[in-house]
């Protein structure tokens, strides 16, 4: 393998972003074709990656790349890319969602060149986060995702976009810098004073191979890293940036934010915090907290959904609830917990894509996302209603669809943990969450799709969804059904990684 496939996944969107960025003036309308080509190429490359991994017994080590970036002042930074069972699905999801978002926003007319440049720039950071195997590179990529999102919200967002964009930027940046201290401690702590180490390397492996921390150290710095990741996920009570950012972001931004950016948090927790070479003893302290926070996030998110009138805000809170489930799975720290946490990350990425697109279409076609104003849409807009129902059903865990598999697995993992710790009764919270989730989705459907056609807004001029939107939603729904019926297709990728827990 001479072609650096993984580097290409970062370099291609970077080139695409630069090309579209400079397509100002008359050529701005053409930017979408460029963006489509670039994102399609990335999707093809990532599919190639998937299939060649599949052929090779789900082993991706042949694609590993490692270069020294610079060595100075006793530090060594590396450019190391690798994918494994944890990251391969996220890489694929990123490529897929960016391509679909480009397709979905085909008719974006407000400075389309910048819009597509931002999408592709975000893809650079996301791919980098999921593939980087070096703390320095990882942190850079982690922060690189912030700037395009900041502009995405503040240029293309809703009425309170200025406030939301700055809040999103500063809030998540504070979490990142606290995580940075954890990174410093782990990297320097592992390698300081180890004989034979001339340069302190920021590579993941250099830290894993040399880490030998005492329990107090582990507990403290696990906490710092966990905080940084948890804000991104987000875990209540550090979630307040999310509803603002989601509500104000344009549809494409929301899809990427919920679909792949939130997953950066859970990815980081699994990749770094749950690494039992770095933090073998920290979970003694943190496991109950993670489970507790996860259960709280599940129930709180679902409960908050019931109170929402804005369709998009409801979906935003449902993201918090579903990411809470991921946190529970990670907290279990067992094979089944990790396996389905990763599966849920993948599933939620696809399902939330459908949900946010449906919300975006509501705001765009009907002029409002307020459930109090909408009603009886199913009669007039059957295609729209179909996708909305499908998305909601997938998200509430209807058997046969993707969300069900993930939630079933995670609840089983939770039950295992609770049973081992004699806390059987707490599973009721899981069931409560299921109930609330079903409740708010059904209620939302009842309010918007069924019943009497609304007379509060004029629907006579509204049209049903556009062809490109139908195509994008159909692809996502087909994937939801596919992985719902045949989950091992995805789980086979995950197991080589999750099986080690």
């Amino acid at each position: 393998m001479d072609i650096p496939i993984l580097s290409l996944l970062v370099i291609i969107p970077l080139i695409g972003a630069l090309v579209t960025l400079f397509m100002g003036g008359q050529r701005a309308d053409k930017a979408k074709y460029v963006a489509a080509v670039f994102s399609a190429v990335i999707l093809v490359v990532s599919l190639f990656l998937l299939f060649s991994g599949m052929k090779n017994d789900y082993d991706f080590s042949q694609f590993d790349e490692s270069y020294i970036w610079f060595q100075a002042a006793g530090l060594q930074m590396n450019i190391i890319f690798a994918v494994d069972g944890l990251s391969i699905l996220m890489v694929f999801l990123t490529a897929l969602l960016v391509f679909l978002v480009v397709m979905f926003s085909w008719h974006e007319s407000d400075r389309p060149n910048y819009y597509h440049a931002l999408l592709l720039a975000m893809e650079v950071g996301l791919m980098g986060v999921y593939m980087a195997q070096d703390y320095f590179l990882f942190y850079i990529m982690w922060e690189v995702t912030l700037i395009p999102m900041f502009f995405m919200i503040s240029w293309y967002g809703g009425p309170r976009r200025h406030y939301s964009a700055i809040k999103f930027f500063v809030y998540t940046h504070v979490a990142s810098v606290i995580m940075l201290i954890g990174i410093f401690a782990v990297v320097f702590g592992a390698q300081a004073g180890v004989p034979g180490i001339e340069y302190i390397s920021f590579a993941f492996d250099a830290v894993r191979d040399n880490a030998a921390f005492d329990t107090v150290f582990q507990t403290f710095f696990f906490g710092l890293l966990f905080f940084g990741f948890a804000v991104k996920m987000p875990v209540p009570p550090f979630h307040t940036w999310l509803p603002d950012a989601h509500v104000e972001a344009p549809t494409g931004g929301s899809v990427l934010l919920a679909g792949v950016m939130l997953k950066m948090g859970s990815y980081g927790i699994i990749r770094i915090c749950l690494d039992d070479k770095i933090f073998p003893n920290a979970m003694e302290f943190w496991q109950p907290i993670m489970i507790g926070l996860g259960i709280f996030a599940m129930v709180y998110g679902a409960y908050a959904c019931i109170a929402q009138n804005d369709l998009k805000k409801m979906v935003a809170y449902s993201s918090i609830s579903h990411m809470g489930m991921v946190l529970v799975g990670m907290g279990c720290n067992s094979v089944i917990g990790i396996e389905f946490a990763i599966f849920q990350m993948f599933a939620h990425g696809i399902i939330s894509g459908v949900l946010f697109m449906v919300c975006g279409i509501a705001g765009h076609n009907f002029g409002t996302r307020d459930m109090r104003l909408l009603g009886g849409l199913a009669g007039k807009f059957p295609v729209y209603a179909l996708f909305m129902m499908f998305g909601f059903m997938a998200s509430l865990g209807l058997p046969g669809l993707m969300g069900f598999i993930a939630e079933f697995g995670l609840l089983y993992g939770l039950w295992e943990y609770l049973a081992a710790n004699n806390l059987h009764a707490l599973i009721l919270f899981g069931l409560l969450d299921m109930m609330l989730t079903a409740g708010y989705y059904l209620w939302a459907m009842q309010k918007t799709l069924f019943g009497k056609e609304t007379d509060k807004i004029d629907l006579s001029h509204c049209h049903d969804i556009a062809k490109n939107e139908v195509a994008v939603l159909a692809v996502l729904c087909a994937l939801i059904a596919l992985f719902g019926i045949w989950p091992t297709l995805a789980i086979d990728f995950i197991m080589p990684f999750a099986g080690a827990f």
């Binding site: 100075a72 922060e143 810098v177 320097f188 300081a192």
Partner: protein
């Protein structure tokens, strides 16, 4: 080739070789008024000063390359540290001189202006290379007195006059404090050579006069670096002085303060390893650092004038650099030196940008920047890079240098230390707070509607200087190896 050149230099000039760079810059200072008198053309004076300083810079680089290090008359040492600082000062001088001819206030007094700039640079170079307290003091005074005059050069502007008077009074006070501190230390130890002082105190132990002397110097040079509570002059002076001068003062003369502090206090407390009261002084520096960065950032949030905002952000950056004084380790000092360099390109770039926009008729208020991205997309993008770099957003220079500097508070003497962990926390939280006011300017430039749609045209020299700073911000962020290695060598020379 370079080796034989350096050898012949040493043969020809003897010890003077090691102060040759300073002497060359002094020649520029003396030549500038004559040249202006002869030609009456500011541009020629600027070009000549630029060329002479460039010769000095090339000489410094050759001497660094050939490792021609040594001491002149036991007073001025040319070593990896002082040579690197000289390059820093001269780099700032280049940027300043480059944009000065097109800046209105400088045209009438070109001779004085370039003479003062060259004198300041020479003073800084002397101060950074000095090995005795007296030589340090003289170098710093040359810089201070020239700076007062430089600020006052815009004499028709009452704000500039006020700033100059304020600067003079506070500066004189700080010089007096410094001198008092130095004389006490001389009285205790009987020598002015820094390293000998360190050795003597190590033997006889610290007494109250020594401590008072140190406090006097900390206060005196605290004014120079604008550390809280000695910072009150900085915003007024930066606001009142003409903008290239503000940029020059904010980037260069602060760095001289740090160079001097590093030299004196590392020699006293680390090399001399007095042991006595070292920890106490470390905590003094740590607390000043924490307060400086916090006050700087919090006050910057409420500023509506961009020069004042940048001034307070300079105060905050001084707080970050002071981490090295608190930790007193080679690694943290490497980070501090590296941060000084990245600060030159990002803060210097931001000040040059402000100067350029003033030349183009824009105001100094942040609200004047509304919709700048529509009126001048390239300049707005450059400004965004500078501001994000100051906030420490990767992969820009400010991030990489803060990365090394802040990790210096955690990685102390080859181990992860909990002692300065709190300082690292305060630093990163401050860095995150600072993003708020930088992002606000970016928001003003990119999101708000412009007051008018006129395109903004700035003179070519500004574009060149800004382009150089942009390149610096990106290259130092993405590929810092060479400079970081130099900073490491320079820091090693201090320990």
């Amino acid at each position: 080739m370079f080796e034989s050149f350096a050898e012949s230099l040493v043969e020809a000039f003897g010890q003077v070789t090691y102060i040759l760079p300073q002497v060359i810059v002094l020649i520029a200072a003396l030549l500038a008024p004559l040249l202006h008198f002869a030609t009456k053309d500011g541009k020629i004076v600027a070009g000549a000063s630029f060329a002479i300083i460039a010769i000095s810079a090339i000489l410094v680089m050759i001497m660094m390359h050939t490792v021609t290090y040594g001491t002149a008359f036991g007073m001025f040492e040319f070593d990896p540290f002082s040579s690197l600082m000289m390059l820093l000062f001269m780099a700032v001088a280049f940027l300043t001189i480059m944009v000065s001819p097109v800046h209105v206030e400088t045209t009438k007094h070109a001779g004085e202006y370039y003479s003062l700039i060259a004198a300041i640079v020479a003073g800084m170079m002397f101060a950074a290379s000095a090995t005795t307290l007296l030589a340090i003091f003289i170098g710093v005074e040359v810089v201070s007195i020239s700076s007062y005059a430089l600020v006052a050069l815009k004499k028709n502007d009452p704000r500039a006059s006020e700033a100059a008077v304020k600067y003079l009074i506070i500066g004189a006070f700080s010089s007096a404090l410094t001198l008092l501190g130095m004389s006490m230390i001389y009285g205790v130890t009987g020598t002015l050579n820094i390293e000998t002082i360190g050795a003597k105190v190590a033997v006889m132990g610290a007494n109250w006069a020594f401590i008072l002397g140190c406090i006097g110097m900390i206060a005196g040079y605290g004014f120079k670096i604008a550390a809280v509570p000695f910072h009150s002059w900085a915003p007024d002076v930066y606001e009142g002085a003409s903008t290239p001068v503000s940029g020059f003062l904010a980037t260069a003369s602060k760095k001289m303060g740090f160079a001097v502090l590093f030299k004196i206090f590392f020699a006293l407390f680390v090399i001399g390893s007095t042991g006595v009261f070292t920890l106490e002084f470390q905590y003094v520096f740590a607390i000043i650092a924490a307060i400086t960065m916090t006050v700087g950032n919090l006050v910057a949030i409420s500023q509506s004038n961009i020069k004042r905002m940048l001034a307070y952000s300079s105060v905050a950056q001084a707080g970050y650099i002071m981490i090295a004084l608190a930790v007193m380790s080679q690694y943290a000092t490497t980070g501090a030196l590296f941060h000084m360099f990245t600060h030159v390109v990002m803060k210097g770039g931001a000040f040059i940008m402000v100067a350029a926009l003033i030349t183009a008729g824009l105001g100094e208020k942040i609200e004047d920047y509304k919709g700048l991205a529509k009126r001048t997309p390239l300049l707005a993008a450059a400004m965004m890079l500078f501001l994000f770099s100051l906030a420490g957003i990767p992969p820009l220079a400010g991030f990489t240098s803060k990365f090394v500097l802040f990790s210096g508070a955690i990685f102390v003497d080859g181990a992860v230390s909990m002692q300065w962990m709190w300082l690292a926390f305060i630093a990163v939280i401050n860095s995150a707070i600072s993003l708020y006011y930088y992002a606000r300017v970016v928001k003003t430039m990119y999101i708000e509607k412009p007051a008018c749609d006129d395109k903004i045209v700035v003179p070519a020299p500004f574009m060149v200087a800004i382009a150089l700073c942009v390149i610096g911000v990106i290259v130092l962020g993405v590929y810092p190896e060479i400079l970081l290695e130099l900073c490491d060598k320079a820091a090693a020379a201090l320990f």
